[in-house]
């Protein structure tokens, strides 16, 4: 089996992690809680110094495993890739020793303006080839595997000629990169655009999924916004169970970015994910 055919592209399963957020820094540094791993937002640490960098080094000094997740790569943009951004990102990769880097399958900039949002792409052959070519370049530059994450979206395009999961699968296959499967984003986009999340989970190339995201969202009735402000809802746990059954154990992360709860409450959410993973694994083994 070549590395790219192995489960998780041959990358390790790190268990269930949580996001490293400012609100919890003091608690973590003082109490050193047992956590499988932390995910950091790369851009928050692409600064010369100050509190972010001091905290980062202290957390690394405690031997916690950090995984980098970015929001500004703009893999689907039409402007050339930002070389300065990539250089700074790579510097951080060396500092954190992250085994992979993830960002979103989206665009964030157009015409010199950064919209600071994860904007969906049209699912066309043109966009697929464009993104895959850029993902290869990024992966070569960073010298660590790149994972692309499916985003929550609030619109779809008339130009699309394939489903979101066909597009996502096509991109990661053609780029030969990994996939960060956000199960909540599948649910959100499924609700907003009327597709079945289970079909999505069953269709993606299983061996390319290196990491999973779980999060809460806000349902406004006519649409759902991916706010990361609440606990994971039951239908999303169900999708997660389905993903675990199909993919086997994959590093899983609880995302919580608004109305962030206590660290204990966050860990309780991670424990819930761990229980599902374990239960599915036991069933598979039996």
């Amino acid at each position: 089996m070549s590395p790219s055919e192995k489960p998780r592209l041959g990358l390790p399963d790190l268990g269930v992690g949580v996001g490293l957020r400012r609100k919890h820094h003091e608690h973590i540094l003082t109490n050193r809680p047992a956590v499988d791993w932390f995910e950091i937002i790369s851009e928050n640490y692409m600064v010369p110094g100050g509190r972010p960098m001091v905290t980062l080094d202290r957390v690394l000094g405690l031997d916690y495993r950090l995984i980098q997740h970015g929001v500004s790569l703009c893999i689907g943009g039409s402007e050339p890739l930002d070389r300065d951004y990539l250089r700074r990102l790579k510097e951080l990769v060396r500092r954190t020793r992250t085994p992979w880097v993830s960002d979103h399958l989206c665009w964030t900039r157009a015409h010199g303006v950064d919209l600071h949002d994860l904007l969906p792409l049209p699912y066309t052959e043109e966009a697929l080839r464009h993104v895959a070519g850029r993902a290869r370049m990024v992966q070569d530059t960073l010298e660590v595997p790149l994972l692309l994450e499916n985003v929550s979206s609030y619109l779809t395009y008339t130009a699309s000629t394939m489903t979101e999961w066909e597009f996502l699968s096509g991109v990661v296959e053609e780029a030969d990169c990994g996939l960060l499967l956000d199960v909540n984003n599948i649910y959100v986009s499924g609700y907003n655009h009327g597709f079945d999340g289970a079909t999505y989970v069953d269709a993606i190339p299983a061996h390319r999924v290196v990491q999973i995201h779980l999060a809460g969202h806000t349902n406004y009735g006519k649409y759902i916004i991916d706010t990361h402000s609440d606990p994971v809802i039951e239908p999303v746990w169900e999708l997660y169970r389905r993903a675990c059954a199909r993919l086997g154990p994959v590093s899983t992360l609880i995302e919580w970015d608004e109305d962030i709860p206590s660290f204990e409450a966050l860990l309780a959410e991670a424990d819930k994910a761990r229980a599902i993973r374990d239960e599915v694994e036991r069933a598979r083994a039996a």
Binding site: P48, V113, P122, Y157, K222
Partner: protein, 289 residues
């Protein structure tokens, strides 16, 4: 000719940054409907509006965090109007929201919408609050090695360059704008602000932002040191225009200031430089010793 993807992104990028709902511009709504599907619950224009609203929420929220004093001074509505005007004139260009206010000081200089009579106050407050951004996460140089001061001779002070902390910011303010920011951050009532000259240092210590009011003469001395003028000639620059009695006291005062600055981490090194460079730091003017 841009490809279809680029053209689509350019069209939507502009729509997301509009101030008014897309539906209010029939031409734009029609262009959106060409490219965006909509569904049985939302029209294409309404779908685009979800992103448009988030664009404003995100960027106004970020400026609100970075300029709390200005927001408290102007009030929420006037602050939002200022920020909207700023973001229209200077759309976010950097990948990080940290850089969102990169052009805000220049913009405020030319902004005509500040309350009458408070224009200078508002501009000074913007300049002061903007300084926090670089100082907050700037790189920390190694601290001053006390041994370097111990070996300095009287003669050395005539030529050695005092290296100030790169994150030290010096202000000659016409209004005590630091009090406005502090009150706003503490959630307390804003102080009555009237013209009152303040010489202020802004710096970071133990990862916390601090300010220190200083004597105008102390600030003149720091300005000279920042230009690279060695300590003794810098003191001589300060002495210009002082009475004999004041000049006589200057040495002692400088010693006090210097010790305080050194212990506050504002001096990070004392470096020997070639005499010619010292003359250049004085702007080519040689000060008699």
């Amino acid at each position: 000719m841009p490809g279809p993807l680029e053209a689509l992104q350019e069209m939507l990028g502009e729509a997301f940054r509009r101030e008014a709902p897309v539906a209010e511009d029939p031409g734009l709504a029609a262009r959106c409907a060409e490219h965006v599907k909509g569904n049985d619950r939302l029209t294409p224009a309404e779908q685009v509006d979800l992103y448009r609203r988030q664009f404003w929420m995100r960027h106004l929220g970020s400026l609100e965090e970075d300029y709390p004093g200005l927001r408290a001074l102007l009030g929420a509505a006037a602050f939002e109007a200022f920020c909207r005007a700023y973001l229209q004139a200077h759309p976010p260009a950097s990948f990080t929201l940290r850089d969102l206010g990169d052009d805000i000081v220049t913009f405020a200089e030319g902004h005509a919408g500040f309350p009458e009579g408070q224009e200078a106050l508002c501009r000074e407050l913007v300049r002061y609050e903007h300084a926090f951004i670089d100082v907050l996460d700037g790189a920390e140089p190694p601290p001053l090695d006390p041994a370097r001061l111990a070996v300095m001779t009287e003669e050395d002070w005539g030529t050695a360059r005092v290296v100030l902390h790169p994150l030290l910011r010096r202000f000659r303010l016409a209004y005590p704008v630091h009090e406005i920011r502090d009150a706003a951050r503490a959630g307390s009532a804003l102080p009555e602000v009237t013209l009152k000259a303040v010489c202020l240092l802004l710096f970071r210590r133990d990862l916390t932002m601090r300010w220190m009011e200083v004597d105008p003469l102390a600030l003149t001395l720091l300005d000279a040191l920042a230009r690279g003028v060695p300590l003794l000639p810098a003191c001589e620059l300060c002495a210009a225009g002082l009475s004999e009695e004041e000049t006589a006291q200057l040495g002692e005062r400088v010693q006090g200031w210097f010790a305080h600055w050194a212990s506050s981490g504002l001096i990070v090194n004392v470096a020997h430089i070639a005499p010619q460079d010292a003359v250049e730091a004085l702007g080519g003017e040689v000060v008699p010793h």
